[in-house]
């Protein structure tokens, strides 16, 4: 683990915020899609999958699953 880098920290904070904004937009889209398309299960499920992919990739770091990097 290298020394803490303030620039990297800011970049990661900003990325987290961008992901949050995307998730909130998708949530509102969920709501209006349901009103307009009478609760279409398929479209709402696809939107939920996009939401889940964003969370798993950016917040849960699924790509580091087999990594040995980090704290112990």
């Amino acid at each position: 683990m290298s020394a803490p880098d303030p620039t990297k920290k800011k970049r990661l904070f900003r990325r987290g915020l961008i992901v949050l904004i995307a998730l909130l937009i998708l949530e509102v889209l969920d709501y209006y899609t349901a009103q307009l398309l009478n609760g279409s299960v398929t479209i709402l499920f696809v939107l939920a999958l996009i939401n889940a992919a964003l969370i798993a990739y950016y917040y849960m770091h699924i790509t580091t699953l087999f990594s040995e990097e980090g704290g112990h």
Partner: protein, 202 residues
């Protein structure tokens, strides 16, 4: 990666390998949880089909937003501790816990009391009540355990247990919290949006 992380202790596995195994173990646990919640979601579609009870849409949107924002803050806490910023770590973890508690108040304290599937509000349990209380109850239980876990992590962080070279405890708690959020991303539309609203209150 620290130099000692690559040095296997005599007769044991290296800390780096142990970390990798811890991560794999956590994800296997989450996989088992996925089967549990997947089964509950399947039960919703089997029992409700293309219908749903008439639930408070504003409340549904609000609690979902709370959980999404809490995920942002626990991510912020994780980044902060990885960069030795303990103040930000404690602040963000505290906000996450608060949002988790507000979510519980919204679902258990408000939705359960006002849902038209509750006999106390003139409705009747039936399959709508059964599924609603089981889905939200099981999820709320996981939110509660997540809040307790985050409380322990915040306490240990306050005591100086976590820092830039030792943060797996925070990472694991954050991943668990994100998983709880991820489950709700599917539960929210399944409960509040999918299908046609039927029954009392419509």
């Amino acid at each position: 990666m620290t130099a000692e992380a690559h040095t296997p202790p005599a007769g044991g596995i290296s800390p780096a390998k142990r970390l990798q195994m811890n991560r794999l173990g956590l994800w296997l646990f989450l996989l088992s949880e996925t089967f549990l919640f997947g089964g509950i979601l399947a039960a919703r579609f089997y029992l409700w089909g293309a219908t749903r009870p008439h639930l408070d849409q504003i409340l549904g949107l609000s609690v979902t937003a709370m959980l999404l924002v809490s995920s942002f803050f626990i991510n912020r806490a994780e980044v902060a501790i990885k960069h030795d910023d303990r103040i930000e770590f404690l602040r963000s973890t505290g906000i996450t816990i608060l949002l988790g508690l507000l979510f519980l108040v919204g679902v258990v304290g408000l939705e359960w009391r006002t849902a038209p599937v509750n006999p106390a509000t003139g409705g009747e349990f039936g399959i709508y009540g059964d599924v609603l209380f089981f889905m939200t109850g099981m999820h709320a239980f996981h939110v509660l355990t997540g809040v307790i876990l985050l409380g322990v992590v915040a306490y240990l962080g306050y005591k100086g247990h976590f820092h830039a070279r030792n943060f797996y405890g925070v990472e694991a708690a954050a991943i668990y919290w994100h998983f709880v959020d991820l489950v709700w991303v599917f539960f929210y539309p399944a409960l509040y949006l999918m299908g046609v609203a039927v029954g009392p209150g419509h």
